[in-house]
């Protein structure tokens, strides 16, 4: 471990973000400084791996904080265990590549200092979130992550959609956060401490779980649903595509949405055997249903970034499901393994999409693209790798991690969830291939795209190539990864590939891949056929996202507005009238007090 790495790894980006106004005095320094900070942070994160791979006890340096003698003493510190160090490396590693890519993507943007500031703050607070050893810090960093995502989604604040998307992300995740906060308060009331270790100790000391502590995981799950954009709070993530593509890459691959999965994994590690059965079932079904529904939405999206957004929600659903399934066999590592695969291929996909969007001056509608593969060969080939990894085609990493999820579902005998997972895998490959075809193959379908010149500078190519290579490599590291996480899969056996789950994966690939190939490559039947009749109705339903958004707007936005307007009629704005009503109310209150008191 490099000296003070557990603290420096998150303090460094946070302090660097505060120094951004100083660095901005010189344009060269302004752009290079955050990238250097990103890579130094990644080096710190990497250096912590050897310290935890040896197994427990894990380093847990603590300091006293919020000290009121004799009343409150909150001990805070950082907890280094395989889970937190792994998340650190994902955030810092992917984050630094995205920062490097931003050099080209954000060059010449207005407000670039603000961009670097929030990116560094984002990375710093996400690392702080995963290394915190208590719920209080976890919550503070959790909110900081939410703030940064709000500011970055609305980075182009002159665009009204971007502003709205930022506010929507902030408000929708806030709904989950309220429940999360309630859960933390319940923990404090029942254990008198925020620390994970104290909660774990309390759980082990009780023979029968106190009622309050068994409701806590559900409250935390609601927080995770908001943050990780699971159904029914998934509506903010597709809209969040209004931000710069690098921001989307960071939110999807490394920070923000992964925070919910991390929280669930952490809760799982704390509760272990004490975890309520219903909570695990809830995790499985929230994950499975989200994965399936959002994959169907991804089939009809025409905005290249929205396709990727739906696929993120769907893959996060897989992770949630894996957490719920793995519980009985100690499978936390499966969801983390899929998280690693997803972080790599999703960063790759977003950055590759970013090259196209950047060159086409912000055009994101895939119907207008096509035939771009000659202009951007590196982007094309790396994006194909990304889509194959996302779809779960061997030998890319998505195949191995998805396969483990199927195996876990088989093993626990949860065939309904397994069915949804396999169908989702088929849909995933189908919309991935559709995206590749519409973007890169066929004819250029609009005049504006024909006129544009695509350029992919090396600063963009290098992160793409690194991530594509990682897509190849990390799939084969399952065994080492299981060993690193300190988890034996079951019966003392380490990581193994089941023939049945592999054949299920292959079936899913064929079921998803062949129709996509026929419809888009062979055009038999051509995709236009699906816009009519019964298919057309289905397509409208899917592209409206099952009317979730419309429903929320009608009830919570317009409904609330109407209710407020109704109350407004009782406010005539005439002072005498208002005061008379106050007097009347006071008299009534006094009368009631006299009568009843």
């Amino acid at each position: 471990m490099l000296p003070y790495a557990p603290f420096l790894v998150w303090l460094l980006p946070l302090v660097a973000s505060a120094l951004m106004p100083l660095a901005a005095l010189h344009p060269k320094v302004r752009d290079l400084f955050p990238v250097v900070v990103g890579f130094v942070t990644a080096a710190f994160a990497l250096s912590m791996i050897p310290d935890v791979s040896a197994g427990p006890p894990y380093p847990n340096p603590q300091i006293s904080w919020l000290l009121v003698p004799g009343l409150i003493e909150v001990k805070v510190g950082v907890l280094l265990d395989p889970l937190s160090v792994f998340m650190c490396n994902i955030v810092a590693g992917i984050g630094s590549l995205i920062l490097l890519y931003s050099l080209a993507y954000m060059a010449g943007e207005e407000g670039i200092t603000r961009y670097w500031f929030f990116m560094l703050l984002f990375i710093g607070s996400m690392i702080g979130l995963v290394v915190a050893d208590n719920f209080l810090w976890l919550y503070i960093f959790w909110e900081m992550v939410g703030l940064c995502s709000y500011a970055l989604i609305g980075f182009w604040y002159k665009k009204p959609e971007a502003r709205k998307a930022g506010v929507k992300a902030f408000i929708v995740t806030r709904i989950g956060d309220v429940f999360f906060l309630a859960g933390i308060i319940l923990i404090f009331l029942n254990t008198g401490s925020f620390a994970f270790s104290d909660l774990k100790g309390t759980l082990e000391a009780f023979k029968v779980l106190p009622c309050a502590l068994s409701t806590v995981p559900f409250l935390l799950l609601l927080g995770a649903i908001g943050k990780s954009a699971q159904l029914p709070l998934h509506v903010w993530l597709p809209d969040a595509m209004e931000g710069p593509t690098t921001v989307s890459a960071l939110i999807h691959a490394a920070t923000m949405v992964k925070a919910g999965v991390y929280l669930m994994a952490r809760t799982h590690l704390i509760y272990m055997e004490a975890a309520p059965e219903a909570w695990l079932t809830a995790l499985i079904w929230v994950g499975a249903i989200t994965a399936f529904l959002t994959a169907t939405m991804g089939l009809t999206a025409v905005d290249i970034k929205r396709v990727l957004a739906y696929s993120t929600i769907s893959q996060i659903g897989y992770m949630m499901m894996a957490l719920g399934l793995g519980a009985s066999a100690g499978f936390v590592f499966i969801s983390q393994f899929h998280l690693m695969s997803h972080a790599i291929f999703k960063a790759l996909l977003f950055l590759a999409a970013g090259v196209i969007i950047h060159s086409l001056a912000g055009l994101r509608d895939m119907r207008k693209m096509g035939g771009l593969w000659r202009d951007a060969p590196v982007t094309f080939y790396t994006m194909v790798v990304g889509v194959l990894a996302l779809g779960g085609v061997p030998p890319f990493n998505g195949f191995w991690s998805k396969d483990l999820i199927f195996a876990a579902a088989l093993e626990t005998g949860n065939y309904a969830a397994l069915f949804l997972a396999v169908v989702t895998a088929a849909l995933t490959l189908a919309y991935g291939l559709r995206m590749i075809y519409l973007t890169f193959l066929g004819e250029k379908r609009s005049e504006e795209v024909k006129k544009m010149h695509i350029h992919e500078p090396w600063v963009m190519r290098v992160p793409l190539l690194i991530l594509a290579t990682l897509c190849f490599i990390t799939g084969f590291t399952g065994e080492n990864f299981a060993g690193f996480m300190g988890v034996l899969t079951h019966n003392g056996e380490v990581f193994h590939v089941e023939p049945l789950s592999v054949s299920l994966s292959i079936v899913a690939l064929l079921v998803g891949g062949i129709p996509a190939y026929l419809v888009y490559w062979k055009r038999s039947p051509p995709p236009e056929n699906f816009a009519r009749g019964g298919w057309g109705a289905l397509q409208r339903l899917l592209s409206e996202g099952y009317y979730f958004d419309k429903f929320y707007y009608a009830v919570f936005v317009d409904g609330l507005k109407a209710a407020v307007q109704g109350f407004r009629k009782t406010h005539p704005g005439i002072l005498n009238f208002n005061i008379s009503l106050i007097l009347g109310g006071l008299l009534l209150l006094a009368f009631l007090l006299l009568m009843l008191g």
């Binding site: 005539p572 704005g573 005439i574 002072l575 005498n576 005061i579």
Partner: protein
């Protein structure tokens, strides 16, 4: 009648007087005066409650009362300033004109 009940009754009367004035008058200057009367009623109540049975007065409360008087003066100044600006704008002191400020 002892001092305490005189204080309480007087304070209550001042508040009710202010409220009555606020509820019936339309001249903005009168309304500012009414608000001041209510403030003073509240201060009288505060000082009355500060008195202990032994005839002592809690000095901290008196300090707060003096502070409240000062703040009441500021409020009156701002209220009169608003009334003055409203008069310049609407050429009348009728408070109903301010209804337009409601959004």
């Amino acid at each position: 009648m002892d001092v305490a009940s005189i204080g309480l009754t007087g304070g209550m009367l001042l508040i009710v007087l202010g409220l009555y004035c606020l509820a019936t008058k339309r001249n903005m200057i009168r309304l500012v005066l009414a608000a001041e009367i209510m403030t003073n009623g509240a201060i009288v109540l505060l000082v009355t409650f500060a008195a202990t049975p032994l005839g002592m007065v809690n000095p901290a409360i008196v300090a707060i009362a003096i502070l409240a008087i000062g703040i009441g003066g500021c409020v009156a100044a701002i209220g009169l300033a608003i009334a003055l600006q409203a008069f310049r704008h609407y050429k009348t002191l009728d408070v109903r004109e301010l209804k337009r400020l409601r959004w």
